[in-house]
């Protein structure tokens, strides 16, 4: 109920609010940021790509491992954090961190069993 200026202002505000309501993606983004406030500013950027490129790397260097054990003496070795795949500075993988390799030289179940 004012001059044209007020109407425009209201319309702009309304539009943004409407947009966040309409856009489920934005609502989801807000949810995510609420859960993980430290999540990178760059949306879906390099972190994912680096992780993808590094897939499969598992470093285990017995020299590093033994030296670290010697230094630590009674203390526990720093174990893998929740993100085992990311190669970070202090973490030295231990034999327990590495998953067991399973040989798969067994016939596929698709090739055996009942044909329905």
């Amino acid at each position: 109920a004012g001059g044209p200026g007020c109407v425009v202002c209201y319309w702009l505000l309304g539009d943004t609010q409407e947009k966040e309501g309409i856009l489920p993606e934005r609502a989801e983004e807000a949810k995510l940021k609420a859960k993980y406030p430290s999540l990178g500013q760059k949306p879906g950027g390099s972190d994912f790509l680096m992780k993808r490129l590094q897939k499969g790397q598992k470093y285990f260097d017995s020299g590093d491992y033994n030296m670290a054990k010697a230094k630590m003496k009674n203390k526990q070795l720093p174990s893998a954090g929740p993100d085992k795949n990311l190669v970070t500075g202090d973490h030295i993988p231990t034999p327990q961190d590495l998953p067991q390799r399973k040989s798969s030289l067994v016939t596929s179940k698709l090739a055996g069993g009942q044909v329905e």
């Binding site: 993606e25 983004e29 995510l32 390099s46 596929s108 698709l110 329905e116």
Partner: protein, 457 residues
Amino acid sequence: MFLKFSPRAMFYGAGGGNDIQWCFSQVKGAVDDDVAEADIISTVEFNHSGELLATGDKGGRVVIFQQEQENKIQSHSRGEYNVYSTFQSHEPEFDYLKSLEIEEKINKIRWLPQKNAAQFLLSTNDKTIKLWKISERDKRPEGYNLKEEDGRFRDPTTVTTLRVPVFRPMDLMVEASPRRIFANAHTYHINSISINSDYETYLSADDLRINLWHLEITDRSFNIVDIKPANMEELTEVITAAEFHPNSCNTFVYSSSKGTIRLCDMRASALCDRHSKLFEEPEDPSNRSFFSEIISSISDVKFSHSGRYMMTRDYLSVKIWDLNMENRPVETYQVHEYLRSKLCSLYENDCIFDKFECCWNGSDSVVMTGSYNNFFRMFDRNTKRDITLEASRENNKPRTVLKPRKVCASGKRKKDEISVDSLDFNKKILHTAWHPKENIIAVATTNNLYIFQDKVN
């Protein structure tokens, strides 16, 4: 602004005309719920005639099924697919220099067109591509002079007469042997292989590079695309899929994690870093969110059989592009739009990174792709109708028409509908294949292979 088709029309299969009624035909694999990792199916591919169907799994094994010859008496259905050959294609390796574990999982299988009695296919894991020859043996030589039938050598002094060995029939044996091993050409993980229409060369693509090989030569390959930045800190996108054009042997496309597709012409230069065409749908910047780039990442790109169109699959949709129009797709189909309001949890459980594939039918009139809860979707480009079907052992009576499924996004759930929150996100259909000529489809759930056919009256 864009042409967006989101057909809501339900297709119940009772309609006349060209509507296809899909029926269960067969299911392969173990029934138990406890799935061994090795049994996870990682690729499915029909050969050029459709007679053979190959699957690859996480354990590095390939299983090939062959369609039995049509039974003239029993004309209710087309021939069934039975196991033809199975072999260990790749084995786990460890790169000691880089402390890198190399998975034996088969990422892709591509068939060569048949030139003689034997069949050839390319199979690849993350690092190594292999050319396999699959041949039949139904005769064996008998009557050697110096050898007994069991292989033991005869004492030459006991040989008093000579005879000519003859070939005698034996039970059919199908042998697979590796004929070429194309190794050590990829620093990053191979996501695609594609055989050129010249049937002499093929390409292999990893996250940052694409190489061109000759099928006869294993110690050399040409690098034709390299998007690795000088400084890895500047890395913004990776190659997600690549394919040769079905007819033009100089043309190929590759898709990226940013939702773009580049078409390259190998005649332009040796290194195709500069694209001939760039296909990208403009995004409304006000719609951008944290998830935008992730869900725009293209997980599969496939040319139509005609070569005039290409299809891309991103997390929520399938897009059809006309090669003559770069600025937007000509058709867009929503696969599971109801997931847009679940992106937060899909990011947390990593499902947002699932790589779904897509495929065309033989006449390029229908496209198919997978979803969650063992659902898969088909979009008819002509009628603009779509259907959701389920790969489940509950429907496994042959010739029973599959019942369409519907997901209820919100609000009141109708009977027979399933709500978004009840979907099982561990049951993903990532790999599907369509017979090149018939209405026969192969759909892979986690560890089972389903074969469906259209109803033959």
